[in-house]
């Protein structure tokens, strides 16, 4: 499918950059996954904030740390009707949307790719992989963790 101007329509919604999330997105350009860390209560914070929602520490207590990229699926579902979801990135095929818990203790939404979508399940070990966005940033996706480098 092409638009009237001949451009291929964007297959992936490109996320805006929130007020506190610049460092996160900059690091994705190099394939590095960062999470905010509260040095006051020693816990991870996600999504990025100027405040720690665990201990109410101010933004000055938060720093960026590299995440291992390893995570466990918390819950996973399969979209069986990508057209109804107005999603093009799967090429019309069913795809998996999951919430994954990073080793650093924070949870994020993602797509798990690299296996049939209905094989993704709660408790499954996954590891980060990257999908380039048009502006050079990369979107963190996850794939089954086979113990091998991507």
């Amino acid at each position: 499918m092409t638009t009237a101007s001949g451009d291929t329509p964007p297959s992936r919604f490109e996320p805006p950059i929130g007020a506190e999330s610049g460092p996160f997105w900059e690091a994705t350009r190099e394939g590095r996954l960062l999470v905010q860390w509260c040095t006051s209560c020693d816990r991870g914070v996600f999504y990025p904030r100027a405040f720690c929602p665990h201990c109410a520490a101010p933004g000055s207590a938060l720093e960026w740390r590299a995440a291992s990229g390893r995570a466990t699926v918390y819950a996973a579902v399969v979209e069986h009707n990508p057209e109804a979801a107005r999603v093009a990135f799967s090429g019309g095929e069913p795809y998996c949307v999951a919430l994954v818990d990073l080793e650093e203790g924070v949870r994020m939404m993602t797509n798990v790719i690299g296996c049939p979508p209905d094989e993704v399940h709660s408790g499954m070990a996954v590891t980060v992989t990257w999908e380039p966005l048009r502006d050079g940033r990369q979107l963190p996706l996850f794939r089954p963790d086979t113990g091998e480098a991507a």
């Binding site: 999504y47 949307v97 919430l99």
Partner: protein, 391 residues
């Protein structure tokens, strides 16, 4: 005085209700015309007039609606918590009335998504104000809303507690049995568990028939003090307990996908009422999806956490004299669902307690709970309602 000792129990009552739905799913009227009609019908039901109204609740703008009505209320509440907005309005109105802020409050809702589509009217678009982290962190992954987040909750519940699609389907089946007794319901044909499971998977594990309808619908209610309520046209339906709670906005931030903030709102509302789940005759539990209703059964204490599947699978939530009647109008699954269904939990609960429900009347109903769920399992609001006998 401790918070728990300060109570709204019995201070205010719902004295008028109105709603408009159609078995076709479409209404002729829309917008302000429909809202005003609902307000006037609910006031007529109470034996009051617009001149009596000094409080307005409207989930978009109470101020704009009051202006349209040409009234000058001293209490205005534009609380918008999605589908639970109207249970929150009950709570806020009861508090305002009890505190002497105002005397007669109306809350109103009208939405016509189905006819907007078929008549090519521009669809109403509600965008939450302020920064919305879900746009940055969730939207790129293509989780269809609203059903996707509920599917995640169902998947997690299945993983932790072994809940099955068959058990979820039974909720749709029991709810349809109630709809069959309600001539105003959108869908009244017999439904089986096999039918639900054979309907197309949307976002797995949810099938099409695990999902609520999209219909037009409108409603309003009127509240006043218990004292004034006793002078009006219909038997008062007293607010015995009311409470709300939120623990997230976006689904990624929900602390535990198997437990809603209804645990908090339910315990507080029942605590204020001095009642528990076993006292409830009619549960109007927001059923945007089968999993939504299942979570309410657990979180309000009708069964233990994790036992909602087997509890629903007994099939006793439908008509037939079981200990608990749930969603007696046919629910969001089969009666109507215009987007923010919480108004219809209240109109049905009130009519059950007045004995006005005809074929789907629960005999001798004295206690009803309207339990609203808003946004993405984000805001639960519980109203425990009772007849004069429960005071």
């Amino acid at each position: 005085m401790e918070r728990a000792d300060r109570t709204l129990r019995g201070a205010a009552a719902i004295v008028g209700v109105a709603d408009d739905v159609s078995p076709t799913g479409e209404l002729d009227r829309t917008g302000r015309e429909l809202e005003v009609a609902m307000v006037l019908d609910a006031l007529e039901d109470a034996g009051l007039t617009l001149a009596d109204v000094d409080g307005v609740c409207h989930a978009e703008s109470a101020v704009a609606f009051a202006e349209y009505l040409g009234i000058h209320p001293v209490f205005m509440d534009s609380t918008m918590t999605g589908g639970s907005s109207y249970e929150v309005h009950v709570e806020h109105a009861a508090a305002a009335i009890a505190a002497g802020v105002c005397d007669v409050v109306v809350s109103v809702y009208a939405s016509t998504p189905r006819s907007d589509r078929s008549r090519r009217r521009p669809a109403a678009r509600r965008v939450p104000p302020g920064p919305n982290p879900t746009v940055e962190w969730d939207l790129p992954y293509g989780l269809r809303t609203p059903m996707g987040p509920y599917a995640l909750a169902a998947a997690r519940h299945m993983h932790v507690y072994g809940t099955t699609s068959e058990q979820l389907a039974q909720i749709a089946v029991s709810t349809r049995e109630w709809a069959a007794l309600n001539p105003r319901a959108r869908h009244r044909d017999r439904l089986t568990v096999a039918d639900v499971l054979a309907s197309p998977l949307q976002v797995s594990p949810l099938h099409l028939l695990d999902c609520c309808l999209v219909t037009d619908g409108a409603g309003a209610f009127v509240m006043t003090s218990a004292e004034r309520a006793r002078t009006l046209r219909k038997p008062p339906v007293y607010v015995l307990g009311t409470a709300s709670c939120t623990d997230h906005m976006g689904i990624s931030q929900m602390p535990d996908l198997t437990t809603t903030p209804g645990v908090v709102s339910g315990a507080r509302a029942f605590g204020m009422a001095g009642l528990s789940a076993s006292d409830v005759d009619v549960l109007m539990g927001y059923d945007s999806f089968t999993i939504t209703a299942l979570l309410h059964l657990e979180d309000l204490g009708f069964c233990q956490k994790g036992e909602g599947g087997p509890f629903a699978a007994e099939g006793t939530l439908g008509p037939g004299g079981g200990p608990l009647a749930m969603n007696t109008n046919g629910g969001g699954l089969s009666f109507t669902h215009p987007g923010m269904y919480g108004m219809f939990l209240i109109t049905e609960a009130v009519r059950q307690l007045r004995g006005e429900c005809g074929e789907h009347q629960v005999e001798g109903a004295d206690v009803a709970v309207a339990h609203g769920s808003g946004i993405l399992l984000s805001v639960m609001s519980t109203a425990v309602l009772g007849t004069e006998a429960t005071l």
